[in-house]
Symmetry: none
Subunit: 226 residues, 4 copies
DNA sequence: TATGAATGAGACTTCATTCAT
DNA sequence: GATGAATGAAGTCTCATTCAT
């Protein structure tokens, strides 16, 4: 095999080869994370053994340690993905030029998309105690910022009149509860598509929060830039 | 019996003694459950060892086994308390003579009271896999009934016009998410009292669900921006 | 009840009362031993908990400790009963005026009677390691004496011509194996009565050991003094 | 592949390596079984901890679980070896063309060889209760078959006149008692070799069972007292 | 890079035994 | 004398992690 020149397709150029290796490694690492996140969500972090994850992937346990230094690091990675989703939503909201309510809905939609996505992670989010102290501090701080930003968005809406008067802190916990509880009941095989769920929940949140004056329900579609 | 005076000093009242023992046993069993539920909620079922529970109570580990046959039985007891709360709420709603929306709110208020109560347990609820198969089937069936009843309540509200048009299934998941997520963030030492939270959430649910046309009761006091 | 003079029958004389108490205590102690021995034989010493014994007797666990200082003492008592049976058989054999073979059979019959009796104990006998060191030494020494006496009986038979030439040591292990294995298969509900079994085994041992000259089988009945 | 000389040093023979691993694994598994059987026989199943077994082997406790799923599976393996021996003896007997008595002795000799062999196990055999229900049923059924076959062999001997008239059932229990009790007293360091014991026991069984009329083979060398 | 094997730490659970009533 | 409650010690088993190949 290796003496045929056509084999060159495998290692066309030294730099390319290295790139391929890195790329493949990155893909495998993501596969591990995806499977682990799914298992953590379904059965809980502590109920999921590294053996479980390995056997789903069809590899041996030690292989996992080539991509993640420890089980806790896997959990940390899950947290990061979730927080990335949250922050991506916040960024989208910040970029949107509209009312506080619109921004809030844009943000939560993006957040829900993450939950329905490959790494839908939320029950996991509860498990902060299983993290290494350093990671835990990191996560707690970052989540506090996201939480605060959610509250800010609502306060903004109250200020600009798009959201009815309410305690922004409690209203944000209300909204996040709706969203964070999704993984507790959502199943791919269930009767509703993610789109239906997002649509429906967005509508309920809007009518729940919107200021009473204007006619509601009609504004349900809050896609940015419509 | 009662004619020998010395008998009184020796065994004050035979029935009483037995009663006291039973009563004390009941109290201790409940204390174990309370501590365990709290720990399960805070750190998760699998992350909580029987040693943890025992040491909080200041007893040795085997003592716990006098009150619960296994750790799984403790978890099952938690589930039962939660489901009792849900069913109590449903009973209250059924007894109330009013619109579907009113019934729904009565039910959810009672449910929240349970969560804020001594055994407030919900994150635990997610952990159905850790139950013994028989108990699991039991819990799943009972929860399905509660879930269905919640949906019925909403369907009733839609039918009688108190609740705006919506998918009752998704709306019930919306409402239960709000409520079930409470234990994930609520702390006794937090800034808000359970009453404030219940009030606030009930209001948000009402305005979110209420049919747009009809006058909204709770909304009365919230009219600054008109 | 207690104010009627006829109650005197309960405590007729001070000495008698004490006797009754002792007698009752003795009886209870024996009941405990009987139940324990039976359970030990059926499930093995280590597989039998004090709770098992207590629940069969319908008493609480601590009550057992009023009659036996420890579980090991119960086992020791079992050993003693078994050895008493063996020694009783040896005494009977010594008292019999006849051939070595006759003496041997008399001894083994008595031994088997013990096994079929209330405290039938033999699997237990194997468990010497579970005894307290002091008791263990005691038991080992006493059993060695019984074992040696069995061998002597056979040697005597070989010498007086009633038993064919053989290694008395091995022949005694042969005979004791037959007998000691009985509890491993005998059930009260089985098809054969203890008498049938004893009769049959005695006959087989006799024909197996008897000197070849005389016609065998006919002498099967080896009841002493016939 | 084979044209690069350096390949040979790296992976001498892919098939061979796998074979070696499997072979070594098989050997280790057998070592675990050997040590466990010996300990179970000496001290009893319940008195033997996995730590005991592990420390004799010089490995850590969890290592044992790589070869046997549970302690009960180890016990089951012991039972299987014993039953394999019994069945091997029965097969040998069936293949032999001779009288019922001859077949019986052939069978029992083979059985005894198993007992004296590396995994000599019999006291363990008593412990059927410690097995998992499924295994227990399996063992009980298989042992019943072996037991029945033993009885058949004796019935055959009675029918062909090689064995004197007797109850085949009781006679088989007699013979199996002799044999099964061996591990209770046999020690490698004892005065008699396995061969001597087998020879002696076979002779005693033959003279015990043989029909009185027929000439007895083994008896030839034992004729001092005539 | 990937894997079979090994292990230290720790979890649940049982049980003989004691204590207070 | 009898019992309910409590406990220290020990046993089985699991699992994250490492090592040698």
């Amino acid at each position: 095999m290796s003496d045929t020149p056509s084999a060159a397709t495998r290692a066309p150029a030294p730099g390319r080869a290295a790139f391929d290796r890195d790329e493949q490694r990155r893909r495998k690492r993501e596969a591990v994370l995806r499977v682990a996140a799914s298992a953590f969500n379904r059965r809980g972090f502590a109920n999921t053994s590294m053996d479980d994850v390995a056997s789903v992937l069809g590899v041996s346990k030690p292989t996992l340690y080539q991509y993640f230094k420890s089980k806790q690091e896997l959990l940390y990675a899950c947290h990061q993905v979730a927080m990335d989703n949250g922050e991506a939503g916040l960024a989208l909201a910040a970029a949107h030029d509209g009312t506080g309510l619109e921004k809030l809905i844009i943000y939560l939609r993006r957040y829900m998309e993450g939950i329905f996505g490959d790494l839908g992670n939320c029950p996991v989010l509860t498990d902060v105690d299983s993290l290494v102290p350093e990671d835990r501090a990191n996560v707690v701080a970052r989540r506090k910022r996201i939480s605060a930003a959610t509250k800010e968005l609502i306060a903004l809406g109250v200020a600009d009149g798009s959201i009815g008067p309410c305690d922004p802190k409690l209203a944000s916990l209300f909204a996040l509860g709706v969203v964070n509880w999704i993984p507790a009941w959502y199943r791919d095989s269930g009767p509703n598509t993610p789109e239906e769920i997002m649509e429906s929940f967005a509508a309920l949140l809007i009518s729940g929060l919107a200021a009473p004056a204007a006619p509601k329900r009609q504004r349900a579609k809050a896609k940015p830039k419509a």
